[in-house]
Amino acid sequence: MANRALGAPRLPGPQPVAESQVISGARAQPEPLINAGSGHVSDRLFHLAMLGCGVCVLGLVGLIIYELARGSSLSWHAFGWKFFFRSEWDPVNEQFGAWAFVYGTLVSSLVALAIGVPLALGVAVFITEMSPRWLKGPLAFTTELLAAIPSVIYGLWAIFVLVPILRQYLEPFLGKYFGWTGLFEGAPYGIGMLAAGIILAIMIVPIISSITREVMTAVSQQQREAVLALGATRWEMIRTGVLRNARAGILGAIILGLGRALGETMAVTMVIGNRPEIARSLFAPGYTMASVIANEFSEATGNTYLSALIEIGLALFLLTIIVNILAQVLVWSVTRGMPARSHA
């Protein structure tokens, strides 16, 4: 049981510190210097203010959904679901259908993925598993630098450098040897779906490669060593020890890249040709959802016209959100789940 101690003379202890350190004349009575308050009210107010900022974030997304829905209601009532499946885009007669843009968005993004994914994976694999240590940092930095370049500068470069190359060299080459596929027919203008796909591919490589690198590094060293111990070559180790384990995350990275490609506006607008046409050939001009908004929004006359454009914006918004959420979930599953599994 606890014993209550009583007052008693002091115990002998170590020698006191040198004289100079001791203040002569200890204070008689401590004076509370601070008559400051309890801070309760301020704490509450501060908490509320910070909470308010957090709520703002929620409110912003709510605002976006609200404004898009409100703006597109006119078009929705006029055209309904079929809006996205008709391709008639006739501002003069107020007939709007977004199929051409949906098609253009999907095709340009697919071309971008087809070109960009192998490149991004190659870069990621090289940096993570193959590159000498001194090269890793600079390489990673330069791929991130690609991500910092604004879309309009990509577009500028694409118009004056990429498109002439396509027109003079690449497209004639593709048309001559691969025209039979139907993908490379028609006059090589340079401007068109292929140009848009290529510039998009360059733009999505940084994000796919950096997320892929993240999930590859999340794979534990033990997994790599286990495969190597069985006598695998480095490539086999990468394939079965790393890529296989990280595949959900890599899929997520690819989908994130898709999300970026879907919403990309300026560079695409500058080289895709901006004609609402549906053609099989990649040489033909096209139009994407983001591009039509960029080009026609500020000059849209008439409420239905504007509403149709906003409805396209709403569709774009929903599309990119779903894609991004899916991607986050996939990436999460690797970067969080991995450490747990490797203990097995």
Partner: protein
């Protein structure tokens, strides 16, 4: 006589070895293919832009169509004005939300806010432009720098929130406890101690957000809209560097193409400077003195 089994293993080994080499070549090739456009873009920017970068370019406004000369001074100023407006509400809300998430938000609601910030980050910039149009331009009846600022401000928030939360979480709990132990109220501790300790990291996050939105064009197309003249009023359409580059690039005039390259060069220099400054700050260690 060679053992048939061992000779088969050797044969396999050659095939597997060559796949290995091939893989390295392909991956290395990918790196080169990716670095090529990077070099090409920077190269062309310098090559085509540097010649047009002169004092006149930086101080004059555009000349009428057909005349040569003139510059993008008003666009540079416009970008500054729009970024200023954007940061007036984007930075406080972003930092505030970051503080909320780090200090008060380790719960379900906080998770919701965090998730929503990520969602906001992925919204295409043109869609944000539509929203800014709806809430500012439509209400006021005209394009304005304010509308552009609102659009860019919204885009800054997720980046700043994320960075602030991360930096605040890096501050050791014992630092906060030292302040509590002195009888300092929680709100005061958060602002004067925790935030102050994380300040260089938070500033880094803000700069990153700036670098990201400075180059944005799409949301300005129908908010700030652009302007051939000087404008310092927030309620008038305003030029912006990215907008000007776009307008000139798609125009049919060689003179304007030339200026587009110069404008793009200025833009990329500003962005690269910000990103490099961020990298250097990160390298030096963002929390001064914590062991």
């Amino acid at each position: 006589m060679p053992d048939p089994l061992s000779s088969r293993l050797t044969h396999l080994s050659v095939w597997r070895r060559s796949k290995n080499v091939l893989a390295t070549i392909c991956a290395g090739g990918a790196v080169i293919l990716v670095l090529l456009p990077l070099v090409a873009i920077f190269g062309y920017l310098l090559y085509r832009g540097v010649g047009s970068l002169n004092w006149a370019f930086l101080t004059q406004i555009p000349k009428p169509v057909g005349e040569s000369g003139g510059g993008m001074a008003n666009a540079i100023a416009g970008t500054c004005l729009i970024l200023f407006i954007a940061s007036c509400f984007g930075v406080p809300i972003g930092i505030g939300a970051g503080i909320y998430l780090a200090e008060y938000g380790r719960n379900r609601f906080g998770d919701l806010v965090r998730f929503t910030a990520d969602v906001l980050n992925g919204v295409p910039s043109i869609v944000i432009g539509i929203v800014a149009y709806a809430i500012v331009v439509l209400e006021q009846g005209h394009f304005s720098a304010l509308a552009g600022g609102v659009a860019l401000g919204i885009m800054m928030i997720p980046t700043i929130t994320r960075a602030t939360e991360e930096m605040l979480l890096l501050v050791p709990q014992t630092i906060r406890e030292a302040a509590y132990g002195l009888g300092v109220a929680r709100w005061r501790t958060t602002l004067s101690i925790t935030l102050r300790t994380a300040s260089s990291g938070v500033i880094t996050g803000v700069m990153l957000a700036f670098a990201r939105v400075a180059g944005e064009t799409a949301p300005l197309l129908f908010t700030a809209f652009g302007n051939q003249y000087w404008n310092w009023k927030i309620n008038q359409p305003t030029a912006a560097l990215s907008l000007q580059v776009f307008t000139y690039a798609i125009s049919p005039f060689d003179e304007w193409h030339r200026q587009a390259w110069a404008g793009a060069l200025i833009l990329i220099i500003l962005i690269v400077l910000s990103v490099s400054a961020v990298r250097i700050a990160a390298g030096r260690g963002m929390l001064k003195g914590t062991s």
